[in-house]
């Protein structure tokens, strides 16, 4: 009976780790696509500015007609760009906060699962041990490159994860 309870607890921990790991991966993907959108809109805006500068410095009389129209479009574009930038920054902050939260949980789970696993494994069959090991081998605990491990930040530890 005790064995079953311990195995159920370990299964619950592993399931949670799988879920959190998968959440972290999807947050990383959304963060990357956020960066892609930022590059896209900035490039587009840079092209519009370059076009305006080209037309402004051009001696072609036909282009001069479009100069003022383009200037209005430029200011409108700048306004829309600022709004989109603010929204992207807000989304980035929200994602980072979520990532921090998930990563703290994952760090706790890493230590808990592997310590508890050694206790539970004593009573398990070879097949059950192998199945649990296979599930654990699929979970990634790697942090976000370039992002400090929030647990280290909170506990005042130096960042030593190299990835």
């Amino acid at each position: 009976m005790n064995e079953n309870i311990r195995l159920t607890e370990l299964n619950d921990l592993i399931e949670l780790a799988e879920e959190v790991s998968s959440n972290v991966e999807s947050i990383k993907k959304r963060y990357t696509s956020l960066f892609f959108y930022f590059v896209l809109i900035t490039s587009f805006f840079a092209i519009v500015i370059s076009l305006y500068i080209y037309i402004y410095t051009s001696k072609n009389a036909e282009f001069v007609k479009f100069q003022y129209t383009l200037l209005i479009a430029l200011f409108l574009g700048l306004f829309i760009y600022m709004i989109m930038l603010i929204r992207l920054l807000n989304e980035r902050r929200r994602l980072l906060f979520k990532m921090k939260n998930e990563y703290m949980i994952l760090s706790d789970l890493l230590e808990m699962i592997h310590s508890y696993k050694e206790v539970v494994f004593e009573d398990l069959s070879i097949v059950k041990k192998a199945l649990l090991d296979m599930r654990l081998n699929r979970i990634s605990y790697r942090g976000f490159r370039g992002y400090e491990n929030p647990l280290n930040e909170i506990m005042g530890r130096r960042q030593v994860d190299h990835g």
């Binding site: 760090s107 706790d108 890493l110 230590e111 808990m112 699962i113 592997h114 310590s115 508890y116 696993k117 050694e118 206790v119 004593e122 090991d133 654990l136 081998n137 699929r138 979970i139 990634s140 605990y141 790697r142 942090g143 491990n149 647990l151 280290n152 506990m155 005042g156 530890r157 130096r158 030593v160 994860d161 190299h162 990835g163």
Partner: protein, 281 residues
């Protein structure tokens, strides 16, 4: 001595050959910087892989041997979540050392796969043990072990840990035998008995030495001997040495095992012995 006397024999060779000769003279430095670049780019084949159970002190050992732990702002690392890569001079040449996390995870599998299957230059394996003096990081599990599993003394903790260590060693030995079958086996296997500050007293140290000796009659030695007989003792050199990378008392259920190694000089001597042993391989 006359003004025209040749001070360096390279003076007599044509200038075009001076650079290759200079490169050859500085080959150790060049190789060191090349390895450091590879580590920075996280590329390069693994030369030495460091394995062991979680919390035996693999990362701390590497930090100590690399000289990082003597920095003012260095603090004890948490559980490793990725493979740590370092370029370390062992003897005259620099090796790429990879520390594989002890916990089962995707990164550990990738690290082991890279070291044993992909790397063609794997020279040696360092297996870090701690003679059962392995604390549990997580407080919830620690309390459960003390209250429910009756692992309430350091003696019981050591018995539990040594059993787990044997199981872990069996898995490593399996990997070595598979590498041998593929013709990609390392040349040496070094058992580093870490945390010897907790058992530095004479009789305990002798017992640990007997336990981890490749030719001993302990359960650990038996598992090792089975692999050595399978792959051939002349193909895989094996040795065990003590080390203390960080002095820390062990506190388990209000029982304290004090760290007593007799100061920094003893630790340095053990570290020198470590480098000497690897150089001799």
């Amino acid at each position: 001595m006359g003004k025209d006397e040749i001070l360096d024999w390279t003076d007599i060779v044509p200038s075009i050959l001076k650079y290759p000769i200079k490169a050859y003279k500085n080959r150790h430095s060049l190789q060191y910087w090349w390895k450091k670049t590879q580590v920075f780019l996280n590329s390069g084949d693994t030369n030495i892989v460091i394995l062991g159970r979680p919390n035996v002190g693999k990362s701390v050992m590497v930090s100590y041997l690399y000289g990082e732990s003597s920095n003012f702002d260095w603090q004890l690392p948490t559980a490793s979540k990725t493979v740590e890569t370092k370029a370390m001079k062992v003897g005259k040449w620099t090796n790429i050392i990879r520390v594989i996390p002890g916990q089962k995870m995707q990164e550990r599998s990738q690290g082991l796969d890279e070291a044993f299957n992909e790397s063609e230059k794997l020279e040696g394996i360092i297996y870090v043990a701690d003679w059962g003096y392995n604390d549990v990081r997580n407080d919830v599990v620690k309390e459960k072990m003390i209250k429910e599993e009756k692992i309430d003394t350091i003696k019981n903790l050591r018995i539990f840990n040594l059993k787990q260590e044997i199981e872990d060693l069996k898995l490593i030995c399996n990997d070595i035998e598979r590498a041998f079958a593929r013709g990609n086996m390392p040349k040496w296997f070094l058992i580093v008995v870490n945390k010897c500050d907790l058992f530095f007293e004479n009789s305990e140290l002798m017992s640990a030495q007997k336990y981890y000796h490749p030719d001993g009659d302990s359960e650990f030695s038996m598992v090792l001997q089975k692999t050595l007989n399978h792959v051939g003792r002349q193909n895989l050199k094996c040795a065990s040495i003590p080390l203390c990378s960080f002095e820390k008392d062990l506190n388990w259920n209000q029982e304290i095992k004090k760290a007593e190694i007799g100061g920094e000089e003893s630790r340095k001597a053990l570290a020198m012995n470590f480098f000497q042993t690897i150089s001799n391989f």
